[in-house]
């Protein structure tokens, strides 16, 4: 532990704020409490029931995809002029959600925010699963998904390369890099915990599996040294990615000439929106999980409140984005841009736009009040609303911009079909199925990092250095 680089400050018991870990825990109680969920806790009927529900929802996704491959994208509501619909909306939404994990793990790690330590693990898992859900869509939304690999620059006898000016190609790189780094980061972080599980497991098979996954971790000083270095490097690597992924995703729109897409504010506004929805998802999952698995000691009100504050801040950036879009629509004097604004406010999808403003801007303002920030119920409700709002935002950006663009004659309407909904809800099923499995087979909070929050983890010299 001597060479630890991420040095948390001491547990701030005298602080006004809630602690990041409740008092009364030691190295062993943390290890026991977390690993028992995986190793000891019996599989409850509730878990099985929930799993089956989620699993069948996931199968709905498979069904929808099967029919899609059989028939073509015409089973969806997309048409000309609305060439992108639910698939791209969902892609951007999931990618956005997948931002919180890496942000918490990497950026907050670099910023030495100790409160992140108890929520980073499942936030990272959530990121991975969200990226997996997101990754499905660019593949299946193509007209000929069996040829989607043409978007990768692979050597071929015809010497044909992707068209590198297209933001969709940048997307391929951005998302696949992000997915890979997130996975590696998550796995590296897991190694010490996997070793803990290996050591605590009584069943030889489970011990064997965890043993293989732990890659021979013995907890030696050298191991810790290398681990910390790798973790730090990965955090450094992941940090720009958090910003770049959604920036690149926003280029999918900003690079085009469609009114409502062709906007320079998109990159920051998309990144803020992504973090916004990411934290909403973290809260959405953390609140029930900590209640069900009795993790209130590790995921304390301090975590929830901080997440609420991040949501409030990013929500305000998003609100600023909306404002600037509207302002520019008016200020530019461009007929197409000003019509876009009019169409959002009064057009056939006006109800959707007003719901978006309500759920993304108006309701989250409640978070200014401590009462709402510290109420698990309200936090949970608000984060759900924000998730819906962020989905609506993508709907407004994609569908409402496309459905009435330059030529009045080519205007159209978009009506999602049952297959659209099945695919969308199906990915939620996939996501939750993975989460369901994750909480039971892997330590959902980082044992090693939680231990560093304990007073006994702190070496006096370092404390002084820190002061």
């Amino acid at each position: 532990m001597a060479t630890q680089t991420q040095i948390p400050v001491e547990v701030p018991v005298e602080d006004q704020r809630a602690p990041v870990i409740e008092p009364g825990h030691s190295f062993s109680t943390i290890g026991e409490k977390v690993s028992n969920i995986v190793l000891k806790r019996p599989v409850s009927l509730g878990w099985i029931f929930g799993f089956l529900v989620m699993f069948s929802v996931m199968n709905m996704l498979l069904m929808a995809m099967g029919y899609l491959f059989l028939k073509g994208t015409g089973i969806w509501g997309i048409t000309i002029p609305i060439g992108w619909g639910f698939a791209i909306i969902n892609f951007v939404w999931w990618i956005g959600i997948g931002h919180a994990g890496t942000l918490i793990s990497a950026i907050l790690a670099l910023l030495r925010q100790s409160w992140r330590n108890s929520i980073n693990r499942f936030a990272e898992a959530m990121t991975l699963f969200a990226v997996a859900c997101a990754g499905i869509f660019p593949l299946i939304h193509t007209g000929r998904p069996w040829l989607a690999y043409w978007m990768f620059p692979y050597p071929n006898s015809m010497n044909v390369w992707p068209q590198f000016r297209s933001p969709l190609i940048w997307d391929v790189f951005a998302v696949s890099t992000y997915g890979t780094i997130s996975l590696v980061f998550w796995f590296v972080g897991l190694i010490p915990d996997l070793a803990t599980l290996r050591d605590r497991a009584e069943n030889p098979v489970i011990r064997g599996i965890f043993g293989i996954l732990a890659m021979g971790w013995r907890g030696s000083a050298r191991h810790w040294h290398r681990y910390e270095t790798a973790y730090l490097l990965l955090a450094g690597l992941a940090t720009p990615l958090v910003l770049s992924v959604h920036t690149v995703v926003s280029f999918d729109f900003a690079v085009s000439i469609v009114p409502g897409w062709h906007t320079t504010i998109f990159p920051p506004y998309f990144v803020a929106g992504a973090i916004y929805s990411g934290f909403a998802m973290v809260l959405c999952l953390a609140i029930p999980i900590r209640a069900v698995y009795g993790m209130e000691d590790f995921i304390t009100m301090r975590h929830l409140e901080n997440s609420g504050k991040v949501m409030l801040a990013t929500g305000l950036i998003v609100a600023y984005g909306y404002f600037i879009e509207a302002f520019m629509g008016w200020y530019s004097g461009n007929t197409f841009d000003s019509f876009l604004l009019w169409n959002r406010l009064h057009g056939p999808y006006a109800a959707w736009y007003w719901s978006l403003l309500t759920s993304n801007i108006f309701i989250p303002q409640l978070l200014w009040l401590k009462k709402f920030r510290t109420s698990t119920f309200w936090l949970w409700v608000i984060s759900l609303i924000v998730l819906v709002g962020m989905w609506l935002e993508r709907f407004i950006i994609i569908v409402v911009s496309l459905h009435r663009d330059f030529l009045n004659s080519a205007w159209g309407m978009y009506y999602p079909t049952k297959w659209d909904w099945m695919t969308y809800i199906g990915t939620i099923g996939l996501f939750l199925t993975l989460m369901w499995l994750f909480v039971r087979v892997l330590p959902m909070v980082s044992i090693a990092e939680l231990r560093t929050l304990l007073p006994e983890a702190h070496v006096r010299e370092e404390e002084e250095v820190h002061k």
Binding site: G72, T73, W84, T142, Q163, L168, N408, S409, A410
Partner: protein, 1020 residues
């Protein structure tokens, strides 16, 4: 009957047969499905074994089975012979056994090089001279005959789409007797008996019902028969007839004459409800050309006034348009007649509407252009209006200058309504023993009060024979149904609107063994079974006096018309009694209309219903509404507001006790208190495409109210129905109140003052970070210009493009979603008051932008720029992200959301243009400027060691355009027409401010309103 039962193709003749008449089962299965479900049912059907086998065999079992009582030896012999000739029936289908290439290659046949044949397409008796492109003996494309005065290269939509009819898999494929398959010999035997019996009584009891016949050969044949059998009768019926025009001519001149116009010499044109710029009006192709030639604002521009009861494309092009009730047109005509100095007995202007500012201005304009004006009356206006138009034209001295008279093109110009009426009376009276219906569909479209179907159903007629292409409503009620050969399969002749005869020559053996009317009449007359070729040639041999018949015949076929057959001009004198004959106006009181007037119109796409099974026409957006697959109940905006009706509402129409339900369409510019319905929909036996589409209005159409009548009641039903319109929004004014200058338009006066008005939106060329691509070094640099002033919205370009580029039909359901596939569309915009707006047409193909937004965003480089400035689409490379379409500001890209192309039906495989890829699902497609034609011309030029000259190469849309509104060519050639057009001051780029630098540019529209008439007023 026993005689016939013997021939029922049984196991004794064809022992290998598994079960009998499986065709019928498949057909029934198809017929049960309705139009909108067509595509789904096709897919489902494709799975069934019967269907697969039918497709595999190419022709249903019945078609290839031997039904005559041949001896076994004879049967084998004939089978051997047919095997040897198997290539003939299947066109290019070769037997699966060992094949031998052409030992002697047919003359001029170069595989891969199409050949062109001149022939003629006939609608309502009027021939459209055409050239047909034939690939290896398969007709694949129809073009206008550029040398023929009635075409000059243009066509109309029906002629273009008639190609699809040829290959229609729903066409009747067998001779049937009461639904059972029979042979031709059985038919001739069955008919010859009664015919020879009838001969004994001079043809008594024989009735022939035809559509309008302009074929000299057929008319000659029927007349010969009638001469030999004076008791037999020839009836003529067609739901869209020229009865009114003919009666009007009789009223004016005492005889039926053909009226034709020379619009190239007309400075002022007044249309009295005549839609002379759309297909279906006799001579429309030539009229469009002549009209458009006078729309050049830099030349001597004409002026068009349209008084009409239903908005039409002609009305949209008008400089002044007056929407009125149909019954007011007569009143208007009288006012006009009075104003040009014709004395009308019994007409008191004060008592009627009274002359308005509009009437006075029109009259003044006409009198100011004596000899260079023309008044055209529409066929659905009563005879009096036609008589008045004749009188006005005479009074203005237009006759012989812009208006000409000749003999009627119609060989038997009897009154259609009367003719069918007599026939039904004869049937009811038991006077008819043998009824021969040659084409048409009277059971579906005869006037309702006659009860034609019930008369036919009764057993009064002993033998009913129907010759028709489809097993339709009429075929169902006849004993014998002989499949009619398509005009591309049979010999005939027909007259164009000026009387010029074209020989109709076949390009392909009858696909389903169809027969022509000529052959049927021969059988009827008891003559030997002559082929159509012999009959037609024989007729002309008699007509041709010289000894050089062979060269005369060859030249006639080669040219596409018989020289010297155009009718001589006739001088007719106005009957002195005309003025008194004009009936007293019995119109409505304009102030207080108790009931609404009902207007029947031919459908712009499927005409009288005969094209109901033609997918190209069903999916062709109608010029104003852009509706497909359906007919609406069309009303004006004021009436809709009063009755609180909106789009989608279904109303019930009640007219003279008959009730019909249909969905509302609110049409800008539609006269108030008027309801327009369209003929041709609601077919019950049309085929997979047409059955069930729309609603049938014929039950309301009686002899007294063929075109319009007052007294229709509208009742909202509370139901709704989605109409599939291909255009999202029809005004250039967006709902936020701003306006987009998509079609640039000025009045002639303003244009003269400010000729560069259209250039406002153009961006400077240097407005980019990147150095512009230099195209000047290339030999070719393609570009297109479209003259909006010439375009009359006739839709030809859409069908021509569909045919040339193998574009799929997607069906009503997909069109409703907005997934139609047309590569070129014609946008229709309205501007101004909804009661009487200005209208514009704007054809939109791919703009082939130099800075193409689509190219930038494609992740796989499936759309790239060529060195000649084309925006190429590489179907093979496309993975279908649709980003290109999102980023296309013109939304001209079309995506195969599902497998829209029919890859199964063998007939369609023969129809397609072999030079154009058939796109599969998941692929984006769009206009290519007909790149296959470009390449063909370039290769030809290269082989001749030269370059493609201006005018040698035409895109499909350009070639078919009767208005000459589209010019395509090499921009690098300084003398090319496209360059000259682009150099005009009116030239502008659509959405030019986006700096996409489109290669397709538009010549702005200039209207020529009467300075006396600043505002139009809506009446009615």
């Amino acid at each position: 009957m026993d005689e016939n039962n013997k021939h029922q193709g049984g196991p004794d003749v064809c022992p290998g047969k598994r079960k009998q008449l499986d065709l019928q089962a498949v057909k029934e299965q198809i017929e049960e499905t309705t139009g909108p479900e067509y595509w789904r049912s096709l897919e489902e059907l494709a799975g069934s074994d019967d269907f697969r086998e039918m497709m595999h065999r190419e022709f249903p079992k019945g078609a290839s089975e031997w039904l005559d009582s041949f001896s076994r030896r004879g049967f084998l012999k004939t089978m051997g012979a047919s095997l040897a000739l198997a290539g003939l029936t299947g066109c290019t289908k070769l037997p699966p056994t060992e094949i031998v290439p052409y030992v002697k290659q047919p003359e001029n046949l170069i595989p891969g090089k199409p050949m062109y044949y001149a022939t003629a397409y006939t609608l309502g008796g009027y021939a459209s001279p055409i050239l047909v492109e034939s690939h290896m003996f398969r007709p694949t494309k129809i073009e206008g005959n550029p040398d023929h005065p009635a075409s000059l290269g243009g066509t109309d939509v029906y002629a273009q789409a008639s190609l699809l009819d040829l290959y229609d898999p729903d066409r009747a494929q067998n001779i049937t007797y009461m639904g059972d398959v029979r042979s031709w010999t059985a038919f001739t035997e069955a008919v010859r008996g009664p015919m020879s019996a009838a001969k004994g009584i001079a043809g008594g009891g024989v009735r022939i019902l035809t559509q309008t016949v302009s074929s000299p050969t057929l008319a000659g044949q029927i007349r010969d028969y009638l001469k030999a059998n004076p008791q037999a009768k020839w009836h003529v019926y067609e739901p869209i007839s020229r009865d009114n025009a003919n009666e009007g001519a009789k009223m004016a001149f005492g005889e039926v004459v053909e009226t034709r116009y020379d619009l190239s010499k007309a400075d002022v044109i007044v249309s009295l409800d005549a839609d002379f710029l759309y297909a279906g009006f006799p001579g429309n192709t030539r009229y469009i050309r002549d009209f458009a030639s006078r729309r050049n604002p830099d030349g001597n521009m004409n002026r068009l006034y349209v008084v009409e009861s239903t908005p039409s494309s002609t009305g949209m092009k008008a400089d002044h348009r007056l929407p009125v009730l149909a019954s007011y047109v007569e009143d208007f005509a009288k006012t006009l007649a009075a104003a040009v100095g014709i004395k009308l007995g019994g007409f008191d202007q004060e008592k009627s509407r009274g002359a308005t500012e509009f009437d006075k201005a029109v009259a003044a304009d006409l009198t100011g252009h004596r000899g260079s004006s023309v008044v055209i009356a529409g066929d659905h206006q009563p005879p009096a209006v036609h008589a008045l138009a004749h009188a006005i034209n005479q009074a203005l001295g237009n006759v012989g200058k812009t208006v000409f008279y000749s003999d009627s093109v119609d060989a038997n110009p009897v009154n259609r309504g009367q003719s069918i009426h007599e026939l039904v009376e004869d049937i009811r009276g038991g006077k008819v023993d043998l009824l021969l219906i040659l084409g048409g569909n009277p059971v579906y479209d005869a006037p309702a009060e006659l009860g034609f179907a019930s008369a036919l159903k009764s057993n009064a007629v002993a033998l009913k024979v129907y010759l028709g292409t489809h097993s339709n409503e009429t075929a169902e009620l006849c004993h014998w149904h002989v499949p009619e050969a398509h005009y591309l399969e049979s010999w005939s002749d027909a007259r164009a609107y000026d009387g010029t005869v074209s020989i109709v020559q076949p390009l392909i053996e009858p696909l389903y063994g169809g027969k022509s009317a000529h052959e049927i009449i021969t059988i009827l007359a008891g003559q030997p079974d002559l082929s159509g070729h012999d009959l037609v040639q024989g007729y002309w041999q008699k007509q041709h006096s010289g000894s050089d018949f062979e060269s005369f015949w060859r030249k006639s076929l080669y040219d596409g018309w018989v020289a010297g057959t155009a009718y001589a001009l006739k001088t007719v004198a106005l009957k002195p009694a005309t003025q008194a004959d004009v009936s007293e106006m019995g119109g409505l009181d304009p102030g207080n209309v108790p009931v609404y007037e009902l207007n029947f119109r031919r459908d712009p796409s499927i005409y009288d219903g005969r094209f109901a099974n033609n997918g190209w026409l069903q999916e062709l957006p109608k010029p104003l509404t852009k509706l497909t697959w359906d007919n609406p109940v069309m009303i004006g905006p004021a009436m809709a507001a009063r009755m609180k009706l909106t789009f989608k509402d279904v109303v019930e129409l009640e007219f003279q006790g008959k009730k019909v339900k249909g969905p509302i369409w609110i049409q800008a510019g539609h006269p108030d208190n008027m309801v327009t319905v369209f003929l041709g929909y609601g077919r019950t036996r049309s085929g997979q495409v047409g059955t069930g589409a729309g609603f049938d209005v014929y039950p309301m159409r009686t002899s007294q109210a063929l075109w319009f009548a007052s007294g229709v009641k509208l009742t909202p039903t509370g139901e709704t129905y989605d109409l599939a319109s291909t255009q999202g929004y029809q005004t250039m004014e967006t709902p936020d109140g701003s306006e987009r200058p998509l079609v640039m338009e000025r009045d002639l006066e303003e244009y003269k003052k400010e000729p560069n008005f259209a250039k406002e939106g153009e961006t400077p060329k240097e407005l980019t970070l990147y150095p512009p691509v230099d195209y000047s070094k290339e030999t070719y640099n393609w570009g297109m210009a479209i003259d909006l002033n010439s375009c009359v919205g006739c839709n030809n370009c859409i069908v021509a493009c569909q045919s040339e580029n193998n574009i799929a039909v997607v069906g009503q359901h997909q069109t409703l979603k907005g997934r139609h596939m047309h590569w070129i569309r014609v946008d229709a915009y309205y501007q101004g008051p909804r009661e009487n707006p200005k209208g514009y047409f704007q054809p939109v193909p791919c703009m082939q932008c130099e800075n193409a937004p689509c190219e930038l965003v494609c992740p796989v480089g499936a759309t790239v720029h060529s060195s000649e400035g084309l925006n190429d689409m590489v179907y093979n490379r496309c993975i279908g992200t649709r980003y290109c379409s999102n980023n296309c500001p013109y939304k001209v890209r079309r995506f195969n959301f599902l497998l829209f192309q029919d890859w199964e039906t063998p007939q369609y495989k023969m129809m397609r243009n072999p030079d154009v890829t058939i796109r599969s699902r998941g692929v984006m497609e769009k206009c290519t400027y007909c790149v296959q034609r470009i390449n063909e011309s370039k290769i030809d030029a290269e082989r001749a060691d030269t370059v493609v000259k201006d005018g040698e190469l035409q895109t499909a849309c350009q070639q078919s355009c009767p208005a000459n509104a589209i010019v395509f060519g090499n921009i690098n050639d300084p003398n090319s027409r496209v360059n000259q057009w682009k150099a005009q001051s009116r030239n502008y780029s659509l959405l030019g401010e986006l700096n996409t630098r489109p290669r397709t540019t538009y010549l702005a529209e200039v209207r020529n309103p009467n300075p006396e008439l600043k505002t139009e007023r809506s009446a009615g």
